[in-house]
């Protein structure tokens, strides 16, 4: 039968899930906008915006089971949020406060890490999280655990030696890994045509004997669906899947970058329509899951969370300078 008008049901998602997805994306967007403002105010000192990639991040993370593990880099705010990291924790981190549970203010924002949320710590060196994620999957395999590890990385990361090591090893041992590549078409200022000669990164995946699929990153449900299927394959011991999520980087690479140095105004503008949130709203409307009052409710809830989190961060203590010397090794 034809589910097309209620596509989310065909994916096993209830109406509440759709509203939850909408809420997570709105929360991610609001947090992202606020961090941008706080950066201009000199309060958040560096930040990599994920605008345009919320569908890729929220859609995929929503498909994960609590036991699954996550390896990420620096742009996956939507993943941390969907995974359940509180706004207060995220802002305490952005404000490099002592109560930042991710890094105690030691890292630049975005390198989330949490035992509770099963997030392996991210870092700035591009690609290094890929072997970590594969090592995590090896641990699940080693202990015969019904778990998968999803690894988030960008198009540029596929050029690294770390990616090569990770993809090859995962394929050889059919490890429970989901390679979630957000192809936002840029490695800072280097366009994909200067990064690789293949038309799709799925071809790159095939070079390792890894099954691959390309998805439209503005279609949140499609990302959810692809991730669910990849996870099922992983749990079944059928090996890794490479998901290339095509999306747009709506802002500059980071607050340190100015994309107008390497892209025309027109180019930048032409990306604007590729907004996963706009597209998701259209879907909700088509599925009769949208009305102004709901939108208003979500906006209010989101704003309240952001305001509360910012106030929390601003009144949180900064770590003592000498505390920078702790945790070099396990304290015995």
């Amino acid at each position: 039968m034809n589910y097309s008008h209620v596509r989310h049901l065909s994916l096993g998602l209830h109406d509440e899930d759709v509203h939850e997805l909408y809420y997570k994306m709105m929360l991610t967007r609001a947090m992202d906008n606020r961090f941008g403002q706080l950066n201009r105010q000199g309060k958040v000192l560096a930040f990599a915006s994920c605008q345009g990639q919320e569908g890729a991040q929220v859609g995929s993370a929503y498909a994960l089971a609590p036991d699954d593990w996550i390896a990420l880099s620096y742009r996956e705010h939507g993943v941390a949020i969907t995974r359940g990291m509180s706004m207060r924790d995220i802002f305490a981190y952005g404000y490099h406060r002592d109560n930042d549970p991710n890094t105690k203010g030691r890292q630049i924002p975005g390198h989330y890490g949490s035992q509770k949320l099963h997030i392996l710590t991210g870092s700035s060196p591009v690609g290094t999280q890929l072997p970590h994620g594969v090592g995590s999957a090896y641990a699940s395999f080693y202990e015969d655990k019904h778990e998968a590890t999803i690894i988030y990385f960008g198009d540029g990361s596929t050029s690294t030696g770390d990616f090569h090591a990770a993809a090859n090893f995962a394929a050889i041992h059919k490890l429970p890994v989901v390679f979630l590549c957000q192809n936002n078409e840029w490695a800072i200022s280097v366009p994909t045509k200067m990064q690789f000669a293949v038309h799709s990164l799925v071809e790159r995946a095939h070079g390792y004997g890894i099954a691959g699929v390309q998805v439209d990153g503005t279609d949140t449900l499609a990302v959810f669906d692809a991730t669910k299927q990849a996870l099922a394959q992983a749990y079944a011991g059928e090996g890794p899947t490479f998901i290339e999520v095509k999306c747009k980087r709506l802002n500059s690479h980071t607050t340190e970058d100015d994309q107008s140095r390497y892209r025309t105004k027109e180019e930048i503008e032409s990306d604007r329509p590729f907004d996963p949130i706009k597209k998701f709203i259209a879907y909700m409307q088509s599925a009769d899951l949208w009305d102004e009052s709901l939108a208003k409710q979500v906006d209010e809830k989101v704003n309240a969370e952001i305001e509360d989190a910012q106030q929390y961060a601003e009144r949180s203590p900064t770590p003592k300078p000498e505390e920078a010397l702790t945790h070099v090794f396990a304290e015995s």
Binding site: I108, P125, A187, I188, Q195
Partner: protein
């Protein structure tokens, strides 16, 4: 003479050499249209085109390895690592390959390349935008390691590095890019690799440093002068091979030595300098060779108060100089 910043001097040097020698080209991440994340290559892509100002995929092994291959063929590559911290994936190519090729072929082949990268902390860049890794490259014979402290030296040393028949690792202090300003002649000139300079004459103690820290040392020395203590400040300019003569001559004159680095203290270049002084000027020492450095932490914290607390500064240097002077 025009006053230029460190970053302008770096750009000048590359521009001058690219104009002079068609074999010189730049490769690295974002060096092309964007002009580099610190704009070191700003304008060069327009002027020299893609072949000579080449954006590479994100793989430092390749940036270094391809530069090595092109250099063996007679080109003069300048390989930019976006940050010194990110040169480590290329470490194997630089130390196991670039450093060994002339020696292992007894001169049959050589690698006239430059690897340049911004290094150093103070910009809240945290663990991977703050590192000092010079000692890692200095450890391998066959590589030259250069770190300019002034814009004048940056231009002259980088031109010398590009013309050098052997691989040169060239580090530029990112906080100094716009902070450091001094007179830089137009046109081309070289500053010899392997020669330190006396940044400030003095008689009672020697202070040896390089990079941004050198300026803090000179400031501290000037303040110390007000207490009537005269300190000599040596700017190493080249980390490897070290200018032993300059180091020893200064210590023989003053009998006391303080070494200042921004790197974490243990196993930094300060150790080798201390050992050289011990071996060659022990009898002249009127006090222990002392060190000011960053405490041993795995990375620089993003938190600015912590970063400031950890890093050497004029006050810490001054305290150490006084302690040594009074020894």
């Amino acid at each position: 003479m025009p006053i230029k910043t460190l970053i302008e001097a770096i750009r000048d040097a590359m521009d001058a050499e690219m104009a002079r020698d068609p074999r010189v080209f730049v490769l690295g991440e974002d060096v092309g249209v964007k002009g580099g994340v610190f704009l070191a290559t700003d304008g060069l892509y327009k002027k020299y085109g893609m072949k000579r100002v080449l954006d590479t995929p994100l793989n430092e092994i390749g940036i270094a390895g391809i530069a090595i291959g092109a250099a063996m063929r007679g080109l003069r590559p300048i390989a930019e690592m976006q940050f010194a911290d990110y040169s480590l994936p290329a470490f194997d190519q630089m130390v196991n390959e670039a450093a060994t090729i002339r020696w292992r072929t007894a001169g049959e082949l050589s690698v006239p390349m430059v690897m340049r990268a911004p290094f150093g902390a103070g910009v809240h860049g945290a663990l991977w935008h703050s590192q000092s890794v010079e000692v890692l490259y200095a450890h391998r014979p066959g590589l030259k390691v250069v770190i300019p402290a002034t814009a004048y030296d940056a231009k002259g040393l980088l031109i010398a590095a590009i013309r050098d028949p052997d691989p040169v690792v060239f580090f530029e202090h990112k906080k100094g890019y716009r902070l450091i300003k001094d007179e830089v002649p137009d046109g081309d000139y070289t500053v010899p690799i392997g020669k330190a300079r006396i940044a400030r004459e003095g008689a009672e103690l020697s202070v040896i440093s390089y990079g941004l820290m050198l300026h803090y040392c000179v400031q501290a020395a000037n303040e110390l002068a007000q207490d009537g203590i005269s300190a000599e400040v040596i700017d190493l300019r080249t980390i490897s091979p070290l200018d032993k003569e300059a180091i020893i001559a200064s210590v023989q004159k003053t009998g006391k030595c303080l070494i200042v680095t921004e790197d974490t203290k243990s196993f930094s270049v300060t150790g080798e300098i201390t050992a050289i002084i011990n071996e060659e000027a022990f009898e002249y020492l009127d006090g222990p060779v002392m060190r000011v450095a960053t405490p041993d932490v795995p990375g620089m914290p993003h938190n600015p108060e912590q970063e400031e607390w950890l890093l050497p500064n004029v006050e810490k240097i001054l305290v150490a100089m006084l302690k040594l002077a009074r020894y």
